[in-house]
Amino acid sequence: MAKENNPRIPVSQQPFQVQKPEDTTAIGGTISIEVNEKKVSVPFGTTILEACKENQIHVPTLCHHPDLCVAGVCRICVVEVDGMRTLQTACTFPITSPIKIHTSTPMVRKARRHIIDLLLSEHYGECYSCFRNENCELQTLAKEYGVDSYTFGHITTPKFDVDRSSASVVRDMNKCILCKRCVRTCIDLQEVGCLEALDRGHETHVGTFLDKPLAEVICINCGQCINRCPTGALRANDPSDQIWNAIDDPKKHVVIQTAPSPRAAIGEEFGIEPGHSFTGELNSALKRIGFDKVFDTNYTADLTIIEEGTELLNRLKKALVDKDESVKIPQFTSCSPGWIKFIEHFYPEYLDYLSTAKSPQQMFGAITKTFYAQEAKINPADIVTVALMPCSAKKFECNRPEMDSSGFKDVDYGLTTREMAKMIKEAGIFLPEMPKSHFDDPFGDASGAGLIFGATGGVMEAALRTVYELVTGREVPFKNLNITPCRGFEGIKQASVKLENCVDAYKFLEGVEVKFIVAHGTANATKVMEMLKKGELNDVHFVEIMACPGGCLGGGGQPIPTSEEIRTKRAQAIYAEDESLELRKSHENPHVKLLYEKFLTEGPCSEKSHHLLHTHYTKRGKFIS
């Protein structure tokens, strides 16, 4: 993860950079140390925590997270180092000399126990009424260290009001243990910086600028802080009760669309190893819960590709043929609502670079309450649309006032993977045991191009599969249609495809080298935007940005915990599913073709499609009243 030299992070929170030797076999490359009387050899500069992990010694951690820079504030990982008066935190201590470490002495155990006791004394609430019950790092530690009573008392009245102002993220600071993972996620990982520690001493708490409600600051709703919170202090705004009400209401026709990333991750909520998709099983489970129809968001992902791809070609034509200088190129993708709010706050003057295409979720809502209502002969007022998303920002997106082009609220509720799993469990269903079934018509199963939207680079890959073929009449020149330069978790990826032997309609693109950039995580988005500002993107045509590290599969609504390893496995599941499909190009999706034949008869980017499938953005800036 990118964490080097971000000037906004205090040096104390940046990792201690020890120059690690490239060749560990060279003299001084490794150091012999003793861990619990066992002699081991570790590379110079390894932290005690890493050294212990390598040697199968468990050191508990709380403020440490593999995605974030070190903090060393919870002090739970303290160990004894011979010759040092005080205990040392394993997560921060780089090994640069032959030290002797003891990880389980009476002093260490007592200190850890005391720290847990202290945290529990100020941790308001009881485990059985917490959504993180059985998935809480504090709870796990308390159990590990046999804390069976509140040695130093237990707070019985809440100190803070729960902040429910945001459509996406709910903050209950009564459960906060001040590990500051959320702070580091916000400023270090995402470079947003709307959370910081406020006040001092015992009054210290994590808050926003002037302690304003979250809805009134520059939070982009990405929810990455939720994924990294060790306790239940941060959670998504859960609409499952309203959804149950709609399901239980016989007058309502409740449809749900499911995005590919939750399907690739929801198994984790049922104790399955990361890396298994449960698409078919989920369809059956949702039907059994009582959803009237289950649709595939990939259908509108395909639709997005058609609209966004056409928009890109139109922009290129205007720029290259009509020499229209007002056209903004490169075109940025607009599928990630976290990224949209990020650019609205941080780069409001560049909103014209964004594709006007709505995200697949919103397109689905608009199509459901118009085309589907018409086809199924249901009053759109009686339709309730639910979207299963890996994302907390989708909750904010569906509540944007402009998202009502169907004449109704296009998408009524955004549901995260975690909340979906809870509903499935509540309905008495064990997901992995469900039979598989297909999505419902009229949208049916979608293409693999829509599926890979879930991973960073997926939108780009899907768009290229379609745009290249539209322009040249041939498939993209990559084996099995796998455009590998788009794949992987590198922060910013750049590549290009040359267009040759174009069909007549696109002769103006003959010989053009289409350059594209893929970035994920808003820290990388910042870098791309700074490049744009400096004019370094003048020869780039298309930029995909996803707000979350890893793309949607690492979204703020996905199962907790998260790490690069887990995200990689989810990506593998998604790419495997894509490769197993017959249909892998958006423009070949027969149901999408049908939509253009029957409903959007004037084609992509026409007036009607603009009304239903496109949107506009708000210049928010950083001053919010």
């Binding site: 104390s12 201690f16 002090r75 780089p94 002093m107 001092r200």
Partner: protein, 403 residues
């Protein structure tokens, strides 16, 4: 200030409160190679006067040996320990000692910039210190090619703190200098390696720097004659509390508390708090102990309590201070101090059990080893030492716990 006849200065000594002509130390140092300055400093045995007692020569040597492109010398003038007021006197009356010390440090370690982190409450000193620095620049004691020493450029700027006690901790001070929240850093890395803006930095107390010009002028051997074997030189003490002549005293290291109490005119003394709130409380039976790094180390704060004082009250005062002044970053300090304060209040109200108070004492010991910085590591000292040394008074004679 004018209402202090003698500016609170009560006893002069051979080192700090003695005659010194501005620039002499610099002249002497610049005439020597840097290694010799370090050698002189090493032979003097000077240790950090902020309280921790780290050998100054070692600190300087570590930075001098670094090949980094920039280095800094920071003067810690965030004098915030309760009961200490000696740095103010030095800065007001002997700025030449402090600033000459910084220049010598700059020369020795290879720094071009010195920064004084001045306590926010000392803002009234700012103008006169700035004026003094201007005069130094006029006389080429600061600026380019100082005293015609080719290539030695050095200047000093003054920055004001904002009143946080924890910013006296050197890494929190550096964070504050960088414009961040005043929170101590993880160590290692130490400031001598990764300090201000990530560059090697020496952070020295005002008094440490003020000792340097005398050492340069008179030599390390002279300095070693004063004090004890392991604690060389003399120390400024800020003495307050129940005595006739509170004020700033220069004493040689090794003085006993009994001697101290005699010349400040303290009577019926019950206890002496050495080292401020984060120090330890010495009961009467231990008054023969010496003030020295090897016995009772101190940054200079001495608070005297006579028989009329309620030691539990004293303890509560200290604990309230720590609850407020903890930076709130690490668990043991942020919550631990609150628990200790609660314990003190429980004793006052009589609603406590001895087993819980002992559990708190145990917690205090964990805080001493598990806290991130010196604040949390030393904040339980008062709790542990006062309850231990005055348990009869607190638990039985004063009637706490007999309700």
């Amino acid at each position: 200030m004018e209402n202090n006849l003698d500016n609170n200065k009560k006893r002069t000594g051979p080192v700090l409160f003695s005659k010194y002509t501005r620039g002499e130390g610099i002249k002497k140092a610049l005439a020597m190679p840097r290694e010799d300055v370090l050698f002189e400093l090493k032979s003097s045995g000077l240790k950090g006067r902020g309280g921790a007692g780290f050998p100054t020569s070692t600190k300087w040597m570590l930075v001098a040996a670094s090949t980094a492109s920039k280095k800094f010398i920071v003067c810690n003038a965030d004098e915030g320990e309760p009961g200490t007021f000696k740095d103010r006197v030095l800065l007001m009356e002997y700025p030449e000692l402090v600033f000459d010390g910084m220049v010598i440090a700059g020369y020795t370690i290879g720094a071009k910039t010195g920064i004084v982190y001045l306590r926010g409450e000392y803002e009234y000193l700012l103008l006169q210190l700035e004026e003094y620095l201007m005069k130094m620049r006029d006389d080429n004691l600061l600026g380019k090619n100082i005293l015609s020493k080719e290539g030695f450029d050095f200047d000093i700027s003054i920055r004001l703190g904002s009143g946080a006690y924890v910013c006296g901790e050197e890494t929190a001070l550096i964070e504050s200098l960088e414009g961040h929240r005043g929170e101590p850093r993880n160590r290692p890395p130490y400031p001598v390696n990764t300090g201000y803006l990530g560059f090697p930095t020496v952070v020295n107390n005002v008094e440490t720097l003020a000792s340097v010009p005398h050492i340069m002028q008179k030599g390390g051997d002279w300095f070693r004659l004063i004090g004890t074997d392991k604690s060389t030189g003399s120390k400024l003490l800020s003495i307050s509390g129940d005595c006739e002549k509170p004020g700033v005293y220069e004493i040689p290291w090794g003085t006993t508390i009994t001697e101290l109490l005699q010349f400040v005119g303290a009577q019926n003394t019950k206890a002496v708090q050495v080292g401020g709130a984060s120090g330890i409380c010495i009961p009467k039976r231990n008054f023969d102990r010496h003030l020295a790094y090897e016995d009772i180390a101190t940054g200079g704060s001495i608070i005297i309590f006579n028989e009329s004082r309620d030691m539990l009250h004293v303890l509560q005062n200290f604990m309230e201070f720590f609850v407020e002044e903890s930076c709130g970053q690490c668990t043991p300090c942020r919550i631990g101090n609150t628990k200790l304060l609660e314990g003190v209040k429980m004793i006052r109200s009589g609603e406590f059990t001895f087993s819980y108070i002992n559990a708190l004492k145990d917690l205090g010991k964990s805080m001493q080893v598990a806290s991130k910085c010196g604040l949390g590591q030393s904040s339980p000292n008062a709790f542990i030492s006062i309850l231990e040394n005055f348990k009869d008074e607190i638990f039985f004679h004063n009637g706490y716990g007999r309700k």
